[in-house]
């Protein structure tokens, strides 16, 4: 199990960094989707099955669709128009930075020699749905508001501009 966890985490980081570094916005979106998929594997292994399912469907699915919609609305589906952004981007430094920060954190963790918590045993007692509907009603209310918000956002922001203010 640990191997899959490390693998999933590593892939997630890798795809995430790829998404950041890639000059093509389309490929970056796909990198994000792949990173998301890796995360869903990780979540599944960690025992969060429903969350993993949501991650796979919503984040790697819906979010990617949104980004692609955005890309197509900005009439730049191809990579070649990204030249103007490429000029001054210094994203090649990112892996170096990450390795540096990672090393720093590892050294910090080793020198501090902290007592680290272990993962608790998985129990089948509490079901996600019970918790969601039994303990987190306030969040559901918030989600309703969020979704309303999203609806208005789609209606307002993606609308064609006929009645412009200025």
């Amino acid at each position: 199990m640990n191997v899959i966890v490390y693998l999933g985490a590593g892939l997630m980081l890798l795809f995430g960094v790829y998404a950041v570094m890639e000059h093509s916005i389309l490929r970056a979106a796909i990198g994000l989707a792949l990173s998301s998929a890796s995360l869903s594997v990780l979540l599944y292994v960690l025992g969060a099955h429903l969350a993993a399912l949501f991650e796979l469907s919503v984040c790697s699915g819906l979010v990617t669709v949104i980004f692609i919609a955005g890309i197509s609305l900005s009439h730049s589906p191809k990579m070649e128009i990204q030249k103007e952004y490429r000029d001054k981007e210094r994203n090649r430094l990112l892996p170096l930075v990450l390795i540096g920060v990672g090393l720093l954190l590892v050294i910090l963790a080793l020198t501090l020699n902290l007592q680290t918590p272990e993962l608790a045993q998985l129990t089948q007692d509490d079901d996600v749905r019970d918790v969601l509907w039994g303990n987190r009603q306030a969040d559901i209310w918030g989600q309703i508001a969020l979704i309303l918000c999203g609806g208005v956002a789609v209606a307002v922001l993606f609308r064609e501009e006929r009645r412009e203010k200025k």
């Binding site: 490390y6 985490a9 997630m12 980081l13 995430g16 998404a19 950041v20 916005i25 970056a28 979106a29 994000l32 990173s35 998301s36 990780l42 979540l43 025992g47 969060a48 429903l50 969350a51 949501f54 991650e55 919503v58 979010v63 949104i66 980004f67 609305l73 900005s74 730049s76 990204q82 103007e84 952004y85 001054k88 981007e89 994203n91 930075v97 990450l98 954190l105 590892v106 963790a109 680290t116 918590p117 272990e118 993962l119 998985l122 129990t123 509490d126 079901d127 996600v128 918790v131 969601l132 303990n135 969040d139 918030g142 969020l146 979704i147 999203g150 956002a153 307002v156 922001l157 501009e161």
Partner: protein, 101 residues
């Protein structure tokens, strides 16, 4: 160096990558992607917290709620970026210097 620390470090690196993306790239959509990248790490942290404290179901509900928020943020971010594209004909964040002191 156990699993928890490794996952924490990887999560923090993801957040650093996301912040880097926000600060160092010039594409509006790319910045939104940066937010999403950082959000991935946060999702990981939440599930990890649930596993450590033995409340995995609770953290799953958190993750689900966060995902909804994440999607809406992506929608709004993309929508604003598209709006800006319509105004400027480009997605360069360096255009956004009209407002300053």
């Amino acid at each position: 160096m156990n699993l928890v620390i490794v996952l924490l470090i990887i999560g923090l690196l993801m957040i650093v990558a996301g912040c880097w993306c926000l600060m160092r790239t010039f594409h509006l959509l790319k910045m939104t992607i940066g937010i999403e990248v950082a959000m991935k790490a946060v999702t990981l942290f939440l599930v990890l917290a649930g596993r450590i404290s033995g409340k995995i179901a609770l953290s799953e509900t958190f993750v689900i709620t966060v995902m909804v928020a994440e999607v809406i943020v992506a929608v709004v971010g993309t929508g604003t970026a598209v709006g800006l594209f319509r105004k400027y004909g480009s997605m360069d964040v360096r255009n956004l210097k009209q407002l300053k002191g």
